[in-house]
């Protein structure tokens, strides 16, 4: 009895000493993590309530947040980012599902070939993709105005006018295959039990019914993951914006992250930029929880 309480009393310290090597193994990553992630995250929250000055910042309460929500640029950015997300996320996830289903039904060799063809554009940096789309959208010599010319349409100043610029960015995002989605769906399809389909065949289900009633429900965990992943990604849209439109014309293609970039590193309004980034985090968190609840719920 005596010894057992003794062990308990010194238990933690004893275990720490005994496992000191485990802490040494963790040390390098932990130092990096604390310095370059944990501290900056906490700092961002603090900064968002301050007016930043090089020699001592001043508390500003909710002033930054008020200023952010009152600014037209931020409202436009929020609106544009929302439209962009609402259109591109469903389009990308559904098209990944359709393409993966098509790939899944062909032979092994063909599967490998098409999987590569659809994933390849994903490995090229968004910088490259944005630069080439800007070129393809070129008014005078671009590929797209030539292609729409086949159908008798007049050339469009895709990126240069208020009412088409955001849609040009959205169309571009829809045309880039969702490589991660296709590969994940393919992997998940491979692990659906064959017996389910055999049972359905005996019951006389058509192949489309089997797809709609077995495949899609069985893929739900992947769908949830992919919806969350692409939503988070699309709220952070930046590279296309800075390289193709710079947020313009006017605020026509302003997005949240591009605005954070401008506020923080062109205007050096650190407090405001920090508040914007905390709001972005809040939005992503709320939307993720909402999607998680909805997609989990409708069993």
């Amino acid at each position: 009895m005596k010894t057992s309480t003794g062990v308990k009393k010194h238990g933690t310290l004893f275990l720490i000493k005994k496992n000191y090597s485990a802490y040494l193994f963790l040390l390098p990553k932990l130092i990096l993590f604390i310095t370059f992630i944990a501290i900056p995250v906490v700092w961002a929250f603090i900064l968002s309530f301050q007016e930043y000055k090089v020699f001592g910042s001043v508390w500003a309460g909710l002033d930054n947040y008020k200023a952010v929500f009152e600014s037209e640029a931020f409202r436009k950015a929020l609106y544009n980012t929302a439209i962009y997300t609402v259109v591109t996320v469903p389009f990308n996830v559904v098209s990944a599902l359709v393409i993966a289903s098509l790939i899944h039904s062909v032979s092994r060799t063909a599967q490998n070939f098409f999987r590569a063809a659809f994933y390849l554009p994903t490995v090229a940096s968004m910088v490259i993709i944005a630069m080439v789309w800007r070129w393809m959208y070129n008014y005078e010599f671009g590929l797209f105005n030539y292609i729409i010319g086949w159908f008798g349409a007049d050339p469009i100043n895709w990126l240069g006018q208020t009412d088409s610029a955001l849609w040009a960015i959205i169309i571009m995002q829809c045309m880039i295959p969702f490589g991660v989605g296709i590969i994940l769906y393919l992997a998940s399809m491979g692990s659906i039990s064959e017996s389910l389909y055999e049972a359905a065949t005996i019951d006389g289900a058509s192949s489309f019914q089997k797809w709609a009633r077995i495949t899609i429900p069985m893929l739900k965990p992947s769908t949830l993951y992919l919806v969350l992943l692409s939503t988070i990604g699309s709220f952070q849209v930046f590279t296309q914006i800075i390289l193709m439109t710079g947020g313009g014309p006017g605020f026509a293609t302003e997005t949240i992250v591009h605005l954070i970039y401008k506020t923080g590193f062109r205007d050096f309004e650190f407090g405001l930029a920090a508040a914007q980034s905390v709001i972005l985090f809040g939005i992503i968190l709320i939307v993720s929880i909402f999607q998680f609840k909805v997609l989990q719920h409708d069993e």
Binding site: L15, P40, S105, S107, I128, M131, I176, A187, W211, F235
Partner: protein, 322 residues
Amino acid sequence: MKTTSFKMKKPIVYTLLIVFSVVSLLPLYWVFSTSLQLSNYQDEELDRPVSYVNSNPPKMYPMGIPEYFEHWKKARDAEEQNDMEQAAYHRETMSHIVDNTFSGFKTLFEKNNMGRWFFNSFYIGVVVTVGILLFDSMAGYVLAKKRFPGRNLIFWLIISTMMIPGQVTLVPMFIMIRELNLMDTHWALIFPDLSMVFGVFLMRQFMYSIPNELLDAAKIDGASEWKTYWKIVMPLAKPGLAALGIFTFMNVWNSFLWPIIVLNNSDLYTLPVGLKTLQDANLASFKLLMSGAAIAAIPMIIVFLIFQRHFVKGLTLGGVKE
């Protein structure tokens, strides 16, 4: 072959797949096609320089290819008729065509800082990848296999930050890097990249599958912790390390937002930053820009084609937990 999906007629499936993949690959094709297009090329019939990059309707493939073969044929015919002067003329034109086709790449390396940018991207990618593989596998190993006070707290602390968008840390990190006097240095890129936590999560998942018996056996044989990790754990973790390594390198190679904030000196640019300044300068032709884009894309395409297997593995490891 499983019958898990559409059972459409095969020709329809193939037609759809081919059409979709052509659409999907078109932009990359256009990068390469434009980068190799003839520009400022002396046209014989028109007797003036023409640029096929800026042409309406657009030229669908590098015009140097048909031009080259035409002159090659003419040169061969002339040689057969022993017209050496004519043959030499066509041979010379052929070399002009080759020069013109690759002129974008040449200009980038000779007049812009492309060689430097490429090297910077490459070595930063290697440094970060090696560091991440080492630190994340060490952390993942003990988080998966050791029991010690604070283990769960540390793990959840690290994982919870994975959900915070990277932009949140931009401003504080900028202030911090400035205070540390690391502005406009490669340390400003390397340190934050080394702190990415995704690999810890991935490695921990992977290390679970290593049998405890092996680790116990090593312990009984008197192997030190480090030796166990280095000689037993690391070799077994190779597939996971390969996947993590490829993704880390690709992320670093393609990273853009943070580098454009902290780098100002052209000698220090990474490739994506260099490409942006090239475009901003507004002097570069689309041929030059697409040549730059091609140079940035080629290494990733090669890496992907060689390590395709690991890409699939890495994506499914991080994505689906079954």
